[in-house]
Amino acid sequence: MVGLVADCIYLADFWSRGLVMIDLRGFGHQLWDGTLMTLELAVVSLVVGLLLGLLGASAKLSNIGLARAAANAYTTILRGIPELLTVLIIYFGATSVLMVVGSWFGYDEYIEISPFIAGVAALSLAFGAYATEVFRGAMIAIPKGQAEAGRVLGMSRIRVFTRITLPQVWRLALPGLGNLFLVLLKDTALVSVIGLEDIMRKANVAVGFTKEPFLFYMAAAFIYLTLTIISMVGISILEKRNSRGLVRG
């Protein structure tokens, strides 16, 4: 009973001081740094992942059997194993692969890749696998006649892709990509497991000092929620902009 009263007082304190983010026991600026790191990781992974997705979708729709098979293997594997495992495989696996490669060239020192690079690689590979399916769906949805018309007018294949296909793919794929970005944003938390100084890692450190796990994990949760809300607003603005030229029945 005494414990309950103490908890109630603590919670009141939490809502009045903690949540308004005045200082969070002196760790407010640390969490802010973590937020910037999370955003950086998410944006870089998004850019690389989009490129991988476009590449994957083009491979899936290509005439070359080998490219199709490779793209299918890529999406099946990356969508079937946990993102956490992907992060771990790349972080620890890349280290040992690089060590082996290094030893071929007579370099026997310990080689380590940074958690940021490993995180970008893992998250963009995972994002790219899902984005491949989204882009593929969008590319299929564009009537074939348009590309043929472009070819007949004497455009090269590349020009048909950049002038006709790509602008429309962007519009059709945006809702799906928006959802994937929200997933990506949450998956960035996994990279804290290999030591990247993101929101989660900063929260862990703060918990280690203050022994107040509820306060800091809740604060982390609200930061992620805020980022999610901002992204959702951004995505809906992009979608509105994108369908300007579209007449809705």
């Binding site: 956490l84 495989i89 809740m218 949760a221």
Partner: protein
């Protein structure tokens, strides 16, 4: 590649896989049972009934699963009332904490899927049930819910695969699931590539299994929607 390590430790990995399967099965069953009332409330026309499940779903879909697991495992224990309560023997165990976090998480996602399906049921079917004089409870039991369940099968299959993948996070709170077991083995053998890739293959096999099961369920449940073959 050192195949001897894989052969030697494969039984341990399978042990971990069994924990993973338990996590997914238990939280899948409990989570989907929780999702039905939440989804129905979320579908309600009354704002006050709709608001709370909306916040619940928004919180659990908008924050990383890792945060949710840490909140349940580390966060809750901050309060003395919890440590003094009868639930403490369970809330102390990483196994139960993981299951609680997964249940809450998957129930939010599943409730949202269910809401989408309920909203997609043609209005005519609701009107027809009303014209036949069905009470609301009967209409939901006989018409709306069975229809919705048929619609959510493919989406729910995806959700189970996402949960299978999410269950790897249980390894962060010291649970020896498939990923946790792999990390423990690697700490001893220093063979990350071999062991992580073997774990990946087991995860892939489990995903395939889920996909097959749900294809079968979908065929069975939506038999009446299939075109007649000649």
């Amino acid at each position: 590649m050192d195949f001897e390590v894989i052969v030697e430790y494969f039984p341990r990995l399978l042990e971990g896989a069994w924990t993973t399967i338990q996590l997914v099965l238990v939280s899948g069953i409990v989570g989907s049972l929780m999702a039905v009332p939440i989804g129905l409330a979320r579908h309600s026309g009354v704002f006050w009934i709709r608001a709370l499940p909306y916040c619940y779903i928004f919180f659990f879909r908008g924050t990383p699963l890792l945060v949710q697991i840490f909140l349940v495992y580390y966060g809750v224990s901050q309060f003395e009332a919890v440590r003094e309560s009868m639930f403490w023997p369970y809330l102390r165990e990483p196994y139960w904490c993981a299951i609680i976090a997964f249940c809450l998480n998957t129930s939010a996602y599943t409730a949202e899927i269910l809401r989408g399906a309920l909203a997609a049921i043609p209005k005519g079917e609701v009107e027809a049930s009303k014209v036949l004089g069905m009470r609301k409870s009967l209409m939901y039991r006989r018409v709306l819910l069975p229809r919705a369940f048929g619609m959510i099968v493919p989406a729910y299959g995806n959700e189970i695969i996402l949960m299978l993948k999410g269950s790897a996070l249980a390894s962060t709170i010291t649970l020896l699931d498939l990923t946790g077991m792999a990390r423990t083995i690697i700490a001893r053998t220093y063979t990350p590539i071999e062991i992580f890739l073997s774990a990946g293959v087991i995860y892939l096999a489990l995903s395939m299994l889920v996909i097959w099961v749900f294809r079968w369920v979908e065929r069975r449940h939506n038999e009446y929607l299939r075109p007649i073959e000649n």
